[in-house]
Each structure stands twice: as C-alpha cells, then as structure tokens.
C-alpha cells in the first residue's frame, strides 16, 4: 500500500515534469520524482518498531543480544544511499535553477512555449 502511494508520488512528479509549461514547475516535478525515489529507498530498509542500527558494547556481550539486535535494527544501507542521492540531487538542482535564471534574464519569461527551440 505504502509502495503504491510512493509510486503514485513518482508518477505525479513525472506528469508535472512532462506536461507543465513553466520551467520552474518542470524543475519542481523532477524534484518530486527524486523525493519519491528517496522515500522508496528509505521504506526498503524500514522495520516496524526497529532500533537505530548503531552497535554498542551491550550488543556484543552475548550471542543472543547480537542476534536480537540484528533482527530488530533497521537496514542502514538505504539510508547511506539516500544521503548520497540527496547530495547529487542538490548539485543538479543548483545547476537547473541557475540555467532557469539565466534563461529568464535572456527572455523575461519561464514559459517554454515562448522560448523557441524548446518546443516539441
């Protein structure tokens, strides 16, 4: 169910990026897609009533404590992936917004239908 909602968010972003005429709205659509994928990655590692995946001395004292920790902690790998993905999307967002601003300076509009070569 949650995954379906996440996919819906992805499709909303895709719709926004493909259909909208305003450059800034296209950028927002791409960001929504990125957030949907990040949310999906986080949900992959989620575990109901899980604990933070930080190991300390008490977990290492006995084998049963360790197994208990492993079966209860959330998966840390997707969190690392999402951090990386967020940094990358920040970089591309900065570049996209700067291109939008420079185009606005040239044309005085964000509407892609009025900007000649972006049509079609």
């Amino acid at each position: 169910m949650l995954y379906a909602l996440c996919f819906l968010l992805f499709m909303i972003g895709l719709y926004c990026a493909v259909v909208k005429k305003n450059m800034v709205k296209i950028v927002v659509g791409i960001l929504i897609m990125e957030y949907a994928v990040n949310l999906f990655l986080i949900m992959l590692g989620y575990r109901q009533n899980g604990v933070a995946p930080i190991i300390d001395k008490t977990h290492l004292e006995s084998q049963s404590a360790l197994t208990n920790f492993v079966s209860n902690s959330v998966d840390p790998l997707p969190q690392a992936l999402v951090l990386t993905a967020i940094v990358i999307s920040l970089g591309s967002l900065a570049l996209m917004i700067s291109i939008c601003i420079r185009t606005y300076e040239k044309y005085g509009t964000f509407d892609i239908t009025e900007i000649r070569r972006l049509r079609g």
Binding site: L14, L95, R116
Partner: protein
Amino acid sequence: MSIPLPVFIAIPLATAFLLPMFGKRRKDAATVIANAATIVLLLLAITCVGKAGVYEIGKWPIPLGINLVLDGLSSLLLLVISIVAAAVMLFSAGYMEQYTAKAKYLSLFLLMVAGMNGVVLSGDLFNLFVFLEIASLASYALVGFGCGHEQFEAAFKYMVLGSIASISILFGIGLVYGNTGALNMAYVSKAIQSSGINAGLGFALALFIAGFGLKAALVPFHAWLPDAHPSAPAPISAMLSGVLIKSLGVYALARVVFNVFGVSLEVGWLLIALGILSMVIGAFLAIGQWDIKRLMAYSSISQIGYVVLGIGLGAMLLARGANPAWASLAILGGLFHLANHAVYKSLLFLTSGSIEMATGTRQMREMGGLTQRLPFTRTTCTVASASIVGIPPFSGFWSKLMLVIAAFQAQYYWVAAIIVFVSLCTLIMYLKVQRYVFLGELPENLRQAKENKGSMLVATVFLACLCVLMGLLVLIPGLREAILEPAVKVLTDGLKYSDFVAGML
C-alpha cells in the same frame, strides 16, 4: 594486479579540482597540466589492455565495500575513452581560446572523464549511478558553456531528460536492492540466478533499459541529442557523441542486460527493435538537416543504432541457444563499431569545429569551396566520412561487414538489408556535407578563412590516422585477441561474470 585501478578516477578528479586555482592569468599552465593528465590516462589505459583484476576500495571485502572491476569490456571502453579524451583535449587547447574561463572548461572536462572512467570500472550498481551522475552533471554544464540563449535552452532540455533518466535508474537500483538484498553486480547476478526474475526485477530491468536508453539517445528517447550536441562547443560535441553516450548508455545497458540480469529472447528482440528504429529514423532525419553539427548529431543516433543492433542480435542468439560463434560475431561487430564510431565521430565533430571557427557559421548553405582554404580539414573530414559510410580500407567497413555477416548467418536477411540500406543513407548525408562545404563556389566572405594549426591540427591528423589503421584491429589476429575478443567474451559469458569476480579475489 600491477595497476591500482582507482588512479583512473583519481587522476582526472584531482586535476579537475586543481585547475580552477590557476584562473585566467595562468591558463597556459592549466592547459598543459590538463593535457598531461589525459595523456597519462591514455598510457595507463594502454598498459591495462588484456589485463583483468578486481580492486576493493579501502580493503573492505565485497559485499561490504565497493569494488572496481577491470575485465575485457572495461579495458576496451577505457582505451576508447582515453584515446578520444586525449585527442579532444589537445584540440581544445587551441579551440577554446575563443571562450573565456578556459580553466573552468578544462576542469569540467576532466570531471566528465573521471565520471566515465568510473562508470566503466565500477562493479557496484549504486556506485555506477554515482559516477554516471558525475559525468552527466559535468556534461550538462558543458553543453551550456557558450552562455548563449541557444546553449541554455539545449542544456535545460538535456538536463530535464537526463535527470528523468537518472531517477529511473535510481528507482531500478532500489527495486534490485529490495528484491535481492545486494548492490554488488556479482552478488545481484548470483541472487537472480538462484531466484529467477520476478515482477519487481522485471520492472527494474524495464527502468534500466529506459534510463540507459535515454542516456544513449536511442530513438524513442532521442529528443535531447540533436539540440544538446550542436549547442556545445565542438570538442565537447566530440566527447558527447564519441564516448559519453556509449559509456553511460550502451556500456551500462550491455553490462546490466548481459552480466547482471542475463539475456532473454524478449530483451534481445527489444534491443534489436530499438537499434533498427534508431538506425533508420536517425538516418532519415539527418539527411534533411542543413546545420552541419545537427546533421552529425542525427547521424550519431543512427550509428548508435548499429551498436545496439549488434549487441541485441548477440543477446537474442545467445538466449535462443543458437551457435555461439554467430552470437560472438554479432557482438564483436557491435563493439568494434562502438570503438570505430568513437574515433570517426569525434573526428567529424572536431572538423566541424574547425569549419565553424574558420567560417563563423554552421549553415551548410552559406559555405562552399573550402577545399582551397582548409586542405587539412578537408582531408581529415573526407577520411572520417569514408569511415562512417563504410568504404573498404577504412575502419567503418569492417564493423559493418561483421554485422551483415552475423545477420546472414543467423538468417535474418531483412536485418542485413536494413544495415546496407542505412549505410546508403549515411553515404547520402556525408556526400551532402562534402558537396556543400568543400566543393562548389567559394563565397566572397570566406576568402580569408584560415586553416587551423598547431595542436588542433595534430589532434585531427592523429584521429584520421586511427580511422585508417583501426581496420588492423580485426585483420591482425594478435591485436584482435588482445583487445576485442576479451570484451566479446565478457558479454557472451553472461552470468559467469559473478564467478569471474569471485575468482579474482
């Protein structure tokens, strides 16, 4: 393993961050350092030919850590990237004098090379995505480098479509991780072999094909390329058409389809269909163009179609269990065409840069008779055109011949007919270039057009010599066994890739 693989990423990355410090004052020093970096990379890539190895970053064992894998396919792509990057960097030394902020250009250029080397060497799906984004971001910025309105529009269009592709790939990686619990390609491939492809993995494969197909500019996804490639400065068009769409698109697609998911009939036919569509539609659209760089950009789409057709034909034959020699011939043709296309298309874009620099226009209608003014450009352009069309001693002929033979052996005569037909269309478009640019009347305003000199000339002549000599790669058995056969073997072995990686540890 004598060569530590991270140097292929570390050298361009470190140089890229060093160069902006030079600023405008000492841009000559920056140019020399950047050229030295690409030449060192070329030498290192040559020493890597025929070698194989796995490197664990930070000594973390797989699957805990990230690994870099060098095998036949990677070393072929590394060699192609390094050759084109070295030649294009040499050309940029002269060409980019007309732009301001040369040091920034060189820095972005090296960042793109670092990203491409990383994509080719990575043995980990997420790491592949990170390097793919490094290369893509650098290329978005380089397409908009001219700072004119046309460049910004093309860069924006490229960036929107490229971001959608990257996000689909990330989504696919998430699905793969959710279904197999691994990100390392060898482990993913093992998990898929034991469990089979379920619905989630099938969707992930579809997302990968769409995402990498967009990066490779295959026909339903090609809309960004004819805008982005002509708008970029000529050396960057050469890099984009020559190697970026191949390492980010075709290489990654082949790696994922053959080595991670394993070939199937459906995917093989899908690749063949995409390849044929790209070949035919790209060629038809190219013939009608009057902008010289736009014509070459459409012809890139058509040529990428040949590569994907060869690989797809191989995948289909492997999946059908046909004679493995036919499949390896088809893949050999595809990969050899990839290497050839990298060389002659970058040469064509460099000559278009010389023409644009000499005449100040890209419209073929306004040119003519440039043979007298630009003899070297004329010669190199003709050599490259003869290669792309497939005239016998030149390189393009051999790869197309192999594709035709492979199609005949597999008894798909209509595929062979289409390959020959598209070659004729290619002939028409490059005759048009020769006719309108180099022959005919020299217009009055172009009497003073100047031939390029120095490093630009060296770069184009170097690539033209390669165009003539590349045929030897298949004709001399020793060279073929050293460079091309290992790359073909990686793809025909398919899922044995995971055993290879495990065996190298």
